[in-house]
């Protein structure tokens, strides 16, 4: 092969190399959130697996998804970096959505992480939007023009059901302004540097919607509560998941 030929073959590499150079030298990095969804100690499966609550009631899961927003990275001095326009849809049935990236984070030694389950009041009532807040993501109430913050569906033999059915339905559609719940993890080393883009690994435990060890009076009894669609029943479930849905497993410095 002569020199001209070789040059032609290298041309595309040269072009892509130029692109990479443009991106380098930035003074920002990224933080990622890696969600692992479980029910108690078992991985969440949509294959009909039956799970057991603390009161012995059992249930299966057919859907589990939620909106996560307003990500903040906390600094030791009490201030925070607020990631602009940070709205994420997490669907436990879609692996890719459980990997969240917060881009363009100023390089710094952060010491914590904060986010909201659901959508802030301003955006919740701003009508149909795009991206994670696209009303076609199955987390939107057309009649109230507001978002479902968290949606769990499934079945349970303890839930009320028609005579011919073996199990009743579970529908927990949690939303409405006033029940946005903020999750904070403080005291964790989150150094975002030119070479480090840390990954925060969170365990997401569906059981926490129904079992609240710190406030057992808020535990959900499926025979009495199997259907929540915003409204009066939603705050207790939101309190439950605020208390126990997310557990920090580890931070990978990467």
């Amino acid at each position: 092969m002569n020199r001209f030929c070789l040059w032609a073959l290298l041309l595309p590499l040269a072009i892509s190399g130029c692109k990479k150079d443009e991106a380098a030298g930035a003074d920002t990095g990224s933080v990622s959130l890696e969600m692992t969804t479980v029910v108690g100690t078992a991985p969440l499966a949509f294959d009909g697996t039956s799970y057991t609550k603390s009161d012995g009631q059992t249930f299966r899961v057919t859907k589990f998804k939620y909106l996560l927003s307003n990500v903040q990275l906390l600094r030791a001095d009490g201030t925070a970096y607020t990631a602009p326009d940070s709205y994420y849809l997490v669907d436990a049935a879609q692996t890719a959505t459980q990997h969240l990236v917060v881009p363009n984070v100023p390089l710094a030694e952060y010491t914590g992480l904060r986010f909201v389950v659901g959508v802030d009041a301003a955006r919740n009532t701003a009508g149909a939007q795009t991206g994670a807040l696209d009303p076609n993501n199955d987390l939107y109430w057309d009649w109230t023009a507001g978002y479902v913050f968290l949606k769990m569906e499934g079945t349970s033999p303890q839930a009320p059901h028609p005579a011919a059915a073996a199990e009743g339905g579970l529908r927990f559609h949690i939303g409405d302004n006033g029940i946005q719940r903020t999750i904070t993890f403080a005291g964790i080393p989150l150094a975002v540097t030119a070479t480090q883009s840390p990954a925060v690994h969170l365990r997401v435990n569906v059981l926490a919607l129904f079992d609240n060890a710190g406030a057992p009076s808020k535990n959900i009894d499926f025979s009495k509560t199997s259907e929540v669609m915003g409204g009066a029943g939603a705050p207790a479930v939101a309190d439950n998941y605020a208390a126990g849905l997310f557990t920090m497993e580890r931070v990978a410095a990467n």
Partner: protein, 383 residues
Amino acid sequence: MRNFSSQVLRRTRGWVAGGLVGVIAVAACSRDGGSGDVPTPTPPPAAPTPYALVLPSNFPGSPLLPADNPLTVEGVDLGRHLFYEKTLSVDNSISCASCHRQSLAFTDGLAHAVGVNGARHPRSAMSLSNLLWDPLLTWDGTSAGLEVQARTPLTNAIEMHQTLAASVVKLQAQPAYVARFAKAFGAGALTEDNMLKALAQFVRTLVSGNSRYDRYRRGDRSVLSADEVRGLQLFITHPTGTAIGRGGNCADCHAGDLQTNHLFVNNGLDLTFTDLGRAVPTGLPSDQGKFRIPSLRNIALTGPYMHDGRFATLEDVLAHYNEHIQYGSLNLDPNILNGTNSPLGIGQPLGLTDTEKKQIVLFLRTLTDSTFIQDPRFSQPTD
């Protein structure tokens, strides 16, 4: 209207640039190996033109457009010809359009599709519109993507029953097709893969978004009657027999502007399953009896209804959801289990009145898009 031409343009420009580099490299190498004569530069084949896909403004902004098969004017045109091409069937008797007729929103009006030699398909032909948002296709989700899906009806023994290789041979005998493939994909491009890609491109352009319902969604409140609006309200409301209000319990599954959340559910048709549905490809007992939630676009045109065409009319469909759900059916969807208008609450049937059922049917008829079924871009080509 949201215009995706710039996105398509950008992607296609990249592809064209890569192609030109390839041409330069090949030309340079052949010169090196040549006899030393002054070479006659071969003009590169004209690059295909990006197809400007225009999406209704009320539709989701994330259609599935695979990077390795960008929409081009020439590719879509080829796909349209192939869609209506009867030589793609083993006895040259049927084309894709035989079971997907534009006048019926690309269905066939039959409970069970009819293939070559009168073979009856166990399932009903699905409507083809707005499929560029559906990650999994057909009633059981076997096919991920339209390129993969196109293979099934072409080769299946009870549909067109011809190998892709045989189709390629038949098309190669027709100079017009050789030229169309060359325009769409380059010289020597009459291949099995490109045949599937072209068909997928054409089907991706079948966007239906100009029904009266769409115009209502885009802000024109005058296009629906009071009964139709009431039908829409019932359609989007999940009823629990409480103060939330009465509802038809439709939109948990037939959600959003596309009227589907793209999932698979058991909607209580049968106590025992002769067709396992989603469990056919997944093998999971928890998927038995589940079928894809179809969009309800043009639903008044696409009967008979359900995967096996068991219901002749929309009134029959409403009667099913209201009065004939098989509550003992395995894997029945929680949204159905928990949907009732009865003051007795959950555990009761849906309980719509006759008037409410009629209002929902009236609303469903507003989903008919008369421009879609007459759009000349989708009709049988005459050239």
